[in-house]
C-alpha cells in the first residue's frame, strides 16, 4: 500500500506544472461548491432556529394583512396556549436602502419571554421594557453598524411613514449558534400610539401573533382550534408551527435555491472534465510504460488501481485543501453579505459533501483512461509514442 502511494505520488510529480494546475482547479471547485451549499444552508437557517413549541398566527389572506389586536384575548382563553405575544414587520430604512435588516415592533415583555434564545443582560432588558422609544439589536447587527447602547438609531418608515428614531437600550446575543443575531426590536406600543394619531385606520393591528403551546404534539390540534375561532370572521387566521412559517418564506424563493443547487453540481461537472482531461493526458503519455507492465505480467486490475490511485491521491488531496480554503472564503463572504444572512457557517455536512465530490471527481476521471489502457493491445501500446 505504501509502495502504491509512493508510485502514485511519483507519477504525479512527473509533471509538476500539470499536477499543480489540476490541484488548483479542484481546490477552486471545492471552494465554490462548499460556498454555494453554505448559501443554501443560510437560506434555511431561519427554519432551523425555530422552536417546536411556538405557533405563528397570521391573516389567512396573506402576511401583508394585519390582524386586530382584539384576537389576542380570544386566543389566550384557549387551553393549551401558555404564552402569547405579537409583532409587526416595521420595514424601515436605515440611512439608505442598501442597509437591510429585519425590524419588528413587538410587545417586549411577552416577546422576550417567548424567545428565551435572545439573551439580554437583566439591566438592559428592564431598560428596554421601560423605555417606549427604546429598541434592542442583535450582536451581529450592532457590530455591523458599530452601535453602542444609548445610541439613537433613525429609521425612515416605508410601511409606517415618517421619520422614526429609537434609543438602543440593549444588545442581545443568541443562546445558540443558529440564533439570528441581526434582529432589531422596538415597542409595538410606540408604533401603535403614533398610528392612532396619524393613521387611525391602521392602529390596534398586529402582523402576527406568536403563541407558546404546552405540549409539542398538540401543535396541529391547537393551530386548528385557533383558526376555528375566527372562521368566517372579518379577519380569518392561519396558524402554523414556527418552522412551517419560516419554510413558507424559503419555498417562495425556491426557484433561486434550485438554481444555486444546480450550479453547485455544474461546478463539480466542470472540474470533472478538467480532471479527466489531465488523467487522459498522463496515461496517453505513459502508454508505453503500461504496455511494458502488461507485457511483464501485471494484470488489468493492477493497472486500474495504479491509475485510480494516482487520480484519487490528487483529487482527495486537493479536496482537503479546498475544504481548508473554504473557511477563510466563507468568513470573507459572511462579512460581505453582512446581515443579509443571519447565519453563515460552513456545516459538517457541506464538508462531507465536498469530500465526497472530490472522491467522485478522482474516480470518474480515472475510469476512461484506465479502460483505454486495459483494452489496448500490448503490441500497439509498445509501439505508441507520447
Amino acid at each position: 500500500m505504501l509502495l502504491f502511494l509512493r508510485l502514485a505520488l511519483r507519477n504525479l510529480l512527473r509533471h509538476k506544472l500539470r499536477t499543480g494546475l489540476t490541484a488548483f482547479g479542484i481546490v477552486i471547485a471545492i471552494v465554490a461548491f462548499a460556498l454555494l451549499r453554505t448559501v443554501v444552508d443560510a437560506w434555511y437557517a431561519g427554519a432551523e432556529a425555530t422552536s417546536a413549541n411556538r405557533l405563528i398566527t397570521r391573516n389567512a389572506i396573506s402576511l401583508t394583512f394585519p390582524l386586530p389586536i382584539s384576537h389576542a384575548n380570544r386566543i389566550r382563553q384557549l387551553s393549551g396556549i401558555t404564552g402569547l405575544s405579537y409583532s409587526n414587520w416595521f420595514g424601515g430604512v436605515y440611512i439608505d436602502e442598501r442597509n437591510f435588516f429585519p425590524q419588528f415592533a413587538v410587545e417586549p415583555k411577552s416577546y422576550l419571554e417567548l424567545y428565551p434564545e435572545l439573551v439580554l443582560a437583566e439591566a438592559e432588558k428592564t431598560a428596554f421594557i421601560k423605555d417606549r422609544k427604546g429598541a434592542i439589536a442583535g450582536r451581529k447587527l450592532a457590530k455591523q453598524y458599530g452601535w453602542k447602547i444609548g445610541d439613537v438609531i433613525p429609521l425612515r418608515g416605508t410601511i409606517y411613514s415618517g421619520n422614526w428614531s429609537f434609543v438602543l437600550r440593549g444588545i442581545y446575543r443568541g443562546a445558540e449558534k443558529k440564533t439570528d443575531e441581526t434582529l432589531f426590536l422596538l415597542h409595538w406600543d410606540n408604533l401603535n400610539e403614533t398610528l392612532k394619531k396619524t393613521d387611525p385606520n391602521r392602529a390596534e393591528r398586529v402582523g402576527v401573533f406568536v403563541l407558546r403551546i404546552d405540549r409539542v404534539d398538540r401543535a396541529a390540534e391547537l393551530s386548528d382550534a385557533v383558526d376555528r375561532l375566527f372562521q368566517n370572521s372579518l379577519a380569518e387566521t392561519l396558524t402554523e408551527t414556527e418552522e412551517a412559517f419560516q419554510l413558507g418564506f424559503v419555498a417562495m424563493t425556491e426557484a433561486i435555491l434550485i438554481a444555486i443547487k444546480i450550479v453547485s453540481f455544474v461546478v463539480v461537472a466542470i472540474i470533472m472534465a478538467v480532471m479527466a482531461n489531465t488523467m487522459a493526458m498522463s496515461t496517453r503519455e505513459r502508454r508505453r510504460e503500461y504496455a511494458t507492465l502488461k507485457a511483464v505480467g501485471f494484470g488489468s486490475r493492477y493497472l486500474l488501481s495504479l491509475i485510480l490511485g494516482e487520480s484519487l491521491v490528487l483529487s482527495i488531496g486537493s479536496g482537503v485543501l479546498g475544504i481548508l480554503a473554504t473557511f477563510p472564503a466563507a468568513g470573507f463572504l459572511a462579512t460581505k453579505f453582512g446581515t443579509l444572512f443571519p447565519v453563515f457557517e460552513l456545516s459538517l455536512q457541506t464538508m462531507g459533501l465536498g469530500m465526497l465530490a472530490s472522491c467522485l471527481i478522482g474516480f470518474t476521471a480515472a475510469l476512461f483512461p484506465a479502460w483505454r489502457v486495459i483494452t489496448l493491445p500490448v503490441s500497439e501500446g509498445l509501439r505508441s509514442i507520447g
Binding site: 396573506s62 416605508t158 385606520n201 372579518l234 438554481a259 478538467v274
Partner: protein, 388 residues
Amino acid sequence: MTIPFSYSWKSLWARKATSVLTAAGMALVVYVFATVLMLTEGLKQTLVATGSEDNVILIRKGAETEVQSTIEREQAAIIESAPEIAYAPNGTKLASKEVMVLMTLPKRGSDKPSNVTIRGLSQKGLTLRTQVRLAEGRMFRPGSSEIVAGKKIAENFKGSGIGETMRFGLRDWTVVGVMDAGNTGFSSEIWGDAEQLMQAFRRTAYSAVVARLADVSLLEPFRDRVEADPRMKVEAQRETEFYAEQSEMLANFLEILGMTLSIIFSLGAIIGAVITMYGAVASRTREIGTLRALGFRRGGILSAFLFESSLLGLIGGFAGVALASTMQFLTVSTLNWQTFSELAFTFTMTPAIACQSLVFSLFMGLAGGLLPALRAARMDLIDALRSV
C-alpha cells in the same frame, strides 16, 4: 510566412477526446455565464415592459411598492382633477384609482403557498394598460365578484384557471377570464373591480393612482405640483421607471451571484485550457522543431498555438450559447423580494448576451493558451528536433 489556420484546426482534431473535454468544460462555464445574464435580462425586461412611457404612477411618499402605499379617496380625487392628465374620448379623466393587495395562494401541484398580487381597478385602468389583452373568456363585470387572472397565475396557482373559483374576503370569486400580458408583471397578477375588492378587504383607501398625461413633457411640472401639494404626501413617477426600480434588489443579487460564479468557473476552465495546451505543446515538440526548421518564425508558432486555444474557447463558447438558448423555453416564477409578490419571468437571450458570452469564451481560450504558446515559441530549434 504564416502557419495556415488549418494546421491549428487539424491539431485539435487529432486529439479529439482532450479537445472535446476542454471545450465541454468551457461550454458549461459559458452556459452558466449566459443563463445568469439571460435571467437578469428577463427580469429587467419583464418589469420595464410592465410600465408604459406615457403613464405616471402616484404612491404615498416613502412607500416603496404599491402594496405598502395608501392614497385616501379625497387625495385620489384631487390627483384625478389635475389639469395635466389627459381626457378619455368620453370626456372623463384618464386616471385609474387602484387598490392592490397580496394574497397567499397555493401553487398547483406542490400546494406550496406564495404571494399573489390582486389589483382592483376600473374600466379606465384597462384602457391605460394597452399591453394587456384577453387570452380566454371575458373581462370582469364592474360591481360583480368576478376576477380575471394573468396567464402565468392561471397556469401556476390553484383555483385561478378559467371557470374556477377562489374564496377570500368572505366571498367566492369566479375567474371569468385569463389575460395575456406577454412578458410583463401583469401576467403574474389577478385583476378585479376596485370597489368590490376594497369592500371585501375592508379597505377605505386606494393604493395608487395611475394616469396618462396629456403630454409626456408635462411630467416634470405635474410631479412638482402634486409633490408640493400640502393636502397629500405622494410621489409621482414615470411608470416604466417605477417598475424598473422594483427589480433592482433581485437583479443585483442575481448579478453578484452570477458574476462571482462565472469568475470562479472561468478559472477552472482556463486551467483546463492551460493543461490541454501545455500537453499539446509537449507532445508536439518535434513537430514544432520541424516547423521552425522549415522556416516558420517564432511569432508564427505563437500565433498558431494561440489560434488553436482560441478556437477551443470559441467551440466551447458556441456550444455554451447554444445550450443556454434552449433555456428560453423556461419560465422562472419566484418571489420578488421588493414587492413581496410572485413574479414570473423568462430567460431572455439577446444578441448582446450572445456576444458577451462568446467574447468571454474567447478570452478564456486566449488566457489558457498564452503560456503554453509562449513556451512553444521560445523552444530551442535543435533541442526540439532532437526530442523524442
